[in-house]
Symmetry: C2
Subunit: 421 residues, 2 copies
């Protein structure tokens, strides 16, 4: 360990920014975004660029059977599992230049900065580019990290088809990225993912670094409210069984229930449609969706119970039926406390303003957390906007995130080797 040499080490923010600009040309859109669907020719080009850049930085690049790229830098103690970091290089069809990209390119920058400073780490380092985080072309999203964690078999994933009927297997072959390494075989001792927040909290609070403690649990519900369609002119108010008014009460109840579990809980009715809507007809039937999230499973339980109570109360008072079906529940993902603490310490040592935060969106690190110690670093993005060509982050924030990643990686790689379970 050479702490005197490393504790003030920073990445080269200007070099990082230039790689963001350079790789944004692969699938770059006139509006300044990126259209780089997973396993597309553009994805192939950026993968080639990444492979070559890693090789030039002295890394050994391997590819697994689902196309995930692993770029290894040896450590002093090769018996230790590598400290891994990265994210994904694929984008939404109208994606931005930072979602995923920042985490991979900051990983490369960490390696380059260590090389420049001539620093060797105890544990090996591993930069990773996970295949298909976005899920825009092939469902599910985050499929390579899920397969790595054992949620799917490789064959399951290889057989998934896009809208044109092309399988993952064929798409991998088409760009030459169907690797030979078995999925899950690559050893990983810990995983750290730097990412833009994709939310408004850091920007609003003027914080540079989000120390991510975990990923939220998610519940998805489908709802149908069945009242009675009637004439808007001839049906007195007390006689109505108005499905839209019932939805209105339920939507406000869901908001109140989320606020009762502030600040973490959220509830969203994102879709709501009146059956056969007409200006002068009292709505008889409304279908809607409900998305509920919180980092604690017990809170999810309490919220579902409160939501069902609210539905029962409203349906009773308004003499209609509210059917609420939970179609999906994903348990909360707690990140590894030691890595979270390392990120926090790294941010503090660098003097960056920071806050603990929960990831509202899904990430590869959330999948990885089931198999290896993992955590994430967030940096602000403008107006919280993501999955949009206008997605934006500042060079200074990207550099700060890369610095925190670098210092976190050094702390993890140079810490005493963990006792294997």
């Amino acid at each position: 360990m050479n702490l005197s040499k490393t504790h003030n080490l920073r990445s080269d923010g200007s070099r990082l920014w230039s790689t963001i600009v350079e790789t944004a040309a692969f699938g770059g859109t006139p509006a300044g975004g990126i259209n780089r669907l997973t396993l597309s020719p553009e994805d192939g080009h950026v993968r080639d660029w990444f492979r070559d850049a890693c090789a030039a930085a002295g890394l050994t690049v391997t590819v697994d059977a689902l196309g995930t790229q692993y770029a290894l830098r040896p450590g002093r103690d090769m018996s230790r599992k590598p400290i891994a970091f990265g994210s994904h290089l694929d984008t939404q069809p109208t994606g931005g230049k930072f979602d995923g990209v920042l985490g991979v390119l900051a990983g490369l920058e960490v390696i380059r900065s260590l090389n420049d400073a001539g620093i060797e780490t105890e544990a090996p380092l591993l930069v990773v580019n996970w295949t298909n985080e976005e899920g825009s072309r092939f469902a599910p999203a985050m499929m390579a990290s899920a397969a790595y964690a054992g949620d799917f078999t490789t064959d399951d994933i290889l057989a998934k088809r896009d809208a044109a009927g092309i399988t993952v297997a064929d798409a991998l072959d088409a760009i030459g990225y169907r690797g030979s390494e078995p999925v899950g075989a690559q050893a990983i001792g810990a995983f750290v993912e730097l990412h833009i927040e994709q939310g408004p909290v850091l920007e609003a609070e003027g914080k540079t670094i989000g120390v991510v403690e975990g990923g939220q649990g998610i519940m998805w519900f489908d709802g149908v409210i069945t009242g009675f369609e009637s004439h808007a002119g001839t049906t007195p108010m007390p006689r109505r069984r108005d499905a839209l008014l019932a939805l209105s009460e339920f939507a406000l109840a869901a908001e109140t229930i989320a606020l009762a579990h502030a600040p973490s809980a959220v509830a969203t009715i994102g879709e709501a449609a009146i059956l056969a809507p007409s200006r002068n007809v009292v709505p008889g039937r409304v279908a809607f969706t409900l998305d509920v999230r919180d980092p604690r499973a017990t809170t999810l339980d309490a919220m579902e119970s409160a939501l069902r109570d609210a539905a029962a109360d409203i349906s009773g008072r308004r003499r209609l039926e509210i059917a609420l079906t939970r179609i999906w529940r994903k348990e909360p993902v707690p990140f590894d406390p030691a890595i979270v603490a390392a990120i926090d310490a790294a941010a503090e040592s660098l003097g960056h303003s920071r806050r603990r935060i929960i990831s509202g969106a899904g990430h590869d690190a959330c999948n990885l957390a089931a198999k290896v110690p993992a955590a994430m670093i967030f940096v602000p993005c403008k107006d919280g906007i993501s999955h949009n060509e206008s997605e934006s982050a500042t060079q200074a924030d990207c550099a700060a995130g890369a610095d925190v990643l670098l210092q976190t990686v050094l702390r993890l790689a140079n810490a005493p080797a963990p006792t294997e379970a």
Copy 2:
């Protein structure tokens, strides 16, 4: 006057019912409803039937330039303007057997009953079948009565086109119902329209007769709520500008405002659509419609003011914009107090349970009221359902309505001649 002979006179409910069943065959549907769009071949057939039945009852049938049929029965004093009654024989494309039809056929039944009893009235009587009340084929609805009242010129209406581009003029010619009488030339001293309620009030309260005091005023609004679309997972509740939650508050405020003007006022959001809805996106924009009705113009004013206050309050608290545009206002139509009193007295003399009521829907009588003294009689319809093939009314209620119409007509036609204004 021969009050001793008339005050107990009733119509023949069985004969009335048989005409309802017989004419329901013109455009009859397998589901038991009627598809008899105005000026269609089926409308031509029922017009022919009505003309022949009136002629057989000794009436003189004329047709005006917009196809409205007038069937005149002489009175003892031919200097008096006729007491008119009727409704319309056209239906919605999936209409029922009673909406409009009852008023015309009960008019015929009134004549037949008077003939059977050998009763002559002081004023002449006039049964009317107004062209295109429904408005399903040609807009606007109730166009012939509106033209009679002077709201449109005959040429304006003749030039209206249906979805296939056919003009009213051509459609009238096609079934031979473009009459020679100028629209508005037919003298009418008073107009009484028997109709199913098209609402649930009479049935719910167990009343047989609705003594209709007027037609509601109507305001139509278009609304757009503009908040901010954001990620359902990463946007904390307090930072959201959720257009659907704003709509929810506004919908409940509209309900509260209508209830504050109970029992007459109603407010309905019949259409509401989220722009680009997605399960995991906070709704950024919602468009909606608002229908507000009350029989008093001052109440409409107060409701609009309260609705705008509510919108301002919600948009301020939730940091979004609510644009509320009034696209139409129809003033309330008060019916003639003397005719309303005559209907009430007729219902009382016949021993029918009754209540004063306001028409929530538009009717030819509402147009007529601007030019001649007018009022309406309602009878219950099952579950308040109308404009539907399942529309239903009992034979007993139809007969009761015809009896009240008969007795009302006798009172009006045999009353001392009104002083001309």
